[in-house]
Symmetry: C2
Subunit: 242 residues, 2 copies
DNA sequence: CCAAAAGTGTTGGGAATACACCCATGC
DNA sequence: GCATGGGTGTATTCCCAACACTTTTGG
């Protein structure tokens, strides 16, 4: 059971790694991990083990990635590992132990086992979900400017993002909303930025259908148009797009 | 280790279930499963166990779903289960044992353990991937008419699909291509339908970015516009969309 | 007034749905 | 010829990217 803890630090997507002090792979960096208790679920176990690395309350989102089963992935013995993706907000500064450090994904140190490829999977999952879910809530502080959010998106995706379009897309989808506050203007002038917040802070799929959307639910016959209690008669999957 | 074997049968999405003959859950239906050998990966183990249920060569696609870890999911003892999604083509008629049968997902018999919810996960995964990957290749025969493919999509998605749009979308994306053959006309007349095939029979993501697409890679300077061997200089994730 | 940063208006393109129309076959 | 089913043409809508322009601050 492994945790890929990702967060944006200094405009870079970083992963939390722990330096091994024992064989195999002494000195190399590995993902936080630990054994599973008989009575707990994998998810709670990940949370429990992370408590020793970062404050658990800092974990804004946790989801299962995949289970690795290559018999040779641990040279000592066959070990199954279920990897989790854990996200921490950009402003969070959890106290971390001495043998643990943040590393930018683009310049990883030598890693242990198959952890590098697991980190790749995590990044891919996160990038994909940025474009069709509200998962940004787990990377951003409670309130933020659009420019700040743009930097977080750019760091995660790995390419520049337009603040203009970011604001419009997330607003139209109902993912973010403005607060009444504004940020202190700027270093040397400039219009003060409004602070935004994520409307929901749990995962929501905001853009479910790329193609083959379900047909419009037929607006009832013209003579008897009122379907009484609207909606409710859809027996196909419908996203929260309304 | 569990397998959710899905296939379209008589215009319905079906799952292969096995009727339990021992406690717990005697008589109820469960997903095919089996223990993992010390030297094999989960994926190959699933393939091996399915060999006793369906001909392995009939499995057109296999991918990992998730690992269930609820300590109470098996009343006897704590059992971790990694579920796989396996797809069989619509025309395939694999010989299956007497205690095994296809069941439409919309009318499942009483199931064992948490298998009903695992089947739900599998259906959700499959539905989602239908809209942004070429995963239909694993549900369709080697060649097929558009009308046949439409029925497969409709059965899987659970709502009607337009053959017109299906053809255009999958053609534009390069997912399907016409063959030189046509189907025998029709029962009582009608234009003979052209037979199509899937261009690739392994999973390809055909529609990667719903929003926040990477910017155009700057079409080089105007004086020297030819980028020589096109593409190849992208260091951000790009799908096979070209 | 000028620079700097935020936010809005507008345009253009691409993709998906829906619908009308044409094509090819059996009876 | 006519019914039946297959395929294409076209219009509409929606969404996103790009860019110009306005707004609001500090010097």
């Amino acid at each position: 059971m492994l945790a890929v803890v990702l967060g944006v630090r200094e405009d870079q997507l970083n992963v939390l790694l722990w330096q091994r002090s024992a064989e195999p792979f002494v000195g190399r960096w590995s993902l936080p991990c630990g054994p599973l208790r008989d009575t707990e679920r994998l998810g709670t176990s990940v949370g429990r083990h992370l408590a020793s690395k970062v404050d658990v309350t800092e974990i804004a989102h946790l989801e299962q990635l995949e289970t690795r089963s290559d018999p040779a992935r641990d040279p000592r013995e066959r070990v199954l590992a279920t990897a989790y993706l854990a996200l921490v907000a950009a402003e969070a500064q959890p106290r971390i132990p001495d043998d643990t450090a943040w590393h930018p994904l683009d310049r990883l140190p030598p890693t242990a086992f198959d952890h590098a490829s697991i980190i790749d999977s995590a990044r891919e999952r996160l990038r994909a979900k940025l474009s069709y879910t509200n998962i940004g809530f787990a990377l951003a502080p409670a309130t933020f400017t659009i420019a700040h959010l743009r930097d977080i998106y750019a760091a995660t995706l790995g390419y520049p993002v337009s603040a203009t379009n970011l604001q419009r897309i997330l607003s139209r989808r109902g993912v973010i909303a403005p607060t009444e506050h504004a940020s202190s203007p700027a270093p040397n002038g400039g219009r003060p930025a409004r602070l935004y917040r994520f409307v929901s802070r749990s995962l929501v799929i905001t853009n479910p259908f790329a193609a083959f959307r379900p047909p419009d639910p037929a607006p009832a016959s013209a003579s008897a148009p009122a379907p009484a209690s609207a909606s409710a008669q859809a027996d196909y999957p419908v996203g929260p797009i309304g």
